[in-house]
Amino acid sequence: MTANVLILCAAGMLVSAYLMVGQKALFTAIRLYGVQSLLLAVIAATIAISQNRHDLFVTAALTVTLKTFLIPWFLMRVIDRIGIHREIEPFLNVPASLLVCLGLTVVGYRVSTGFPEGGQGVSHHLIGIALSMLLIGLFLMVTRKKAITQILALLTVENAVFVVAVGVTSGMPFIVELGISFDVILAVLVLGVLVQRIVGRFESMDVSRLSKLKG
């Protein structure tokens, strides 16, 4: 039962990453990120119940508050204020992007077979999915032009790291996790401020225009 819930949630996270790749409306992409984080919280809570580890409940609560509500709310506010709602044509079109992501998932799963648990069990799926999400996040980052999408890609990478942290290790020390969450929220705030300044200056959040500095 526990194993099924974990695998289902992890798979859901992977699907949300794929949907993000196929998505051009920025609001939807942000909501997808919120759902993805919610699934991460469910994973943490499930492990907390099944292994009787109460500190993971706090992790789950933190994830829901920060990543499902606070960060998406903040990013939507940024978008509202600057009034740009859609991603423009990416460097690589959507069908081709999805194909590349499929390849990345295979790579992620292949790498995950080397772990002590080997090619089976829950943690095989968790690591495989986490590594695929990491690669997909990286891919999104290099192919998309809008600043908000790049932030979402970064946050997807971040979520992938948390899947490994929650699902595979016996949980990072609690204080460290608290510090990391705090830093992530701070980074998003700083990024949001930067986006607003970029839009104020260039009247666009197309980061491919940031190309004056060379050599």
Partner: protein, 497 residues
Amino acid sequence: MHLLLVWTLVVPLVTAAVGAVAGVRRFRETVIIGGLAVTFALCLAIAGVFLRGTIPAAFGDALRVDGLSALVLVLCGFIGLLSGVYGVGYLRRNEARGLITPRMRREFFGLIPAYVFALLLVSMSNNLGILWIAVELTTLASVFLVTFHDRDTSLEAAWKFLMLGSLGLAFALLGTVLLFASGQGQLGEGMAALHWTRLMQVAPELHAYTLRLGVVFALIGYGTKAGLAPMHTWKPDAYGEAPSPAGVLMAAGMMNAALYCVIRIHLISKASLGPEFSGSLLLTLGLLSVLVATPFIVIQWNLKRLLAYSSIEHVGIMAIGLGLGAEAAVFGAFLHMTYHTLAKPVSFFAAGTIAQLYGSSDFAKIGRGTFGRAPVASALFVLAAVMITGSPPFGMFFSELIILRAGFLGAHPTITAVFLAALVVLFCGFVYQVGRLVLGPPRDPAEVTASPEPFDLGMGTAIVAAVLAVVSAFYLPGPMMALIRAATHVVWSGGGA
């Protein structure tokens, strides 16, 4: 619980808080300089405690100063003080031209000590989690320093800096998680499970595959912060746009702190998997950095970007020294770190003065003959160039020689030969650039009398930094040498104890 460690962190934090609050300008300037001076004194005191034979620690060993920490701590404290004093002068100069708003002053006086705080936290951290958090803090503290002048290009630089930095940190976090996972439950519970010393204790039993993956991610992640190629691309932009005092903190302070993280990871890998795995990774990244920096120095068009590429070269040299796998080379790398930390501020301060005089650091706008326009700054810049290209009789000549010698005697003579060739080209390129800039008739003789070179706090700091750098080449104080040896010992013997 060693209170010195706590104070060393509290003092810059308080300084940052006072600096960020509006107040009389003169008072805040005194607080900044005083606070950073006290911080540096505390760093020296910690190093003193260490050299007398105790290892200062606090918060259940989460903060712990061994030889490596002590060296990086002293160097970061030194850079903090220097950039604080120069920063006050820098701000005064720009204020005289009406370029500074009260908001900018608050940002500057708040962020510089905050940055120093984060650097010191990195260098005394024994816990991989805290290490990560502290490195993230350095990134966040420096973003708004990069956008300080609020130009189009500084926004671009800050964006690239933050995106690449955050990505690197995500990698470093994954690396940390995987290192933790490789312990397979042997690390215990709570905070102590992520202690570097704890990982070193159980190193032989770590799961090899997980550890390898973790080491690769962590090295790439922290390598990004150190500016090792091919993750170096943020560096020229950020250095080019940041005001010189912040540039120095990044080029010497951040670089040392990030290398500190790289070395900690390298040591875990070395203790568990043997020296080859992470050693060859460091060697590859280091050589790549030196090779990447070479052409960009030869064709450079901007003064501050020139310094950034030189900085990529130097971090490469240190990585090569660490990766060669010879004790002498490791010693050379730490000697290089020390001399680099002493010489780099001179180049940044001199370049900053020239850039402020001309209102740009673009070669095309500066033209030639800066010597006629700003003789002292230009002379300092030439001196700094001689030092950072590793010419005799200055320090970096000797440290590079030690690394090269160890390389030729050791297992990698071919790599060392390539490295040497790159160094020669780098030297020629740098000398060519500096000669082109400094020599010749000044662009407009009338300017020289209209706005002469300033003799103020900034210039004074530059001169003091230059004197220190020159003296250090001939006389490095005994305790400093002892710290370098202690750091070498930590790397070479694994130094779990």
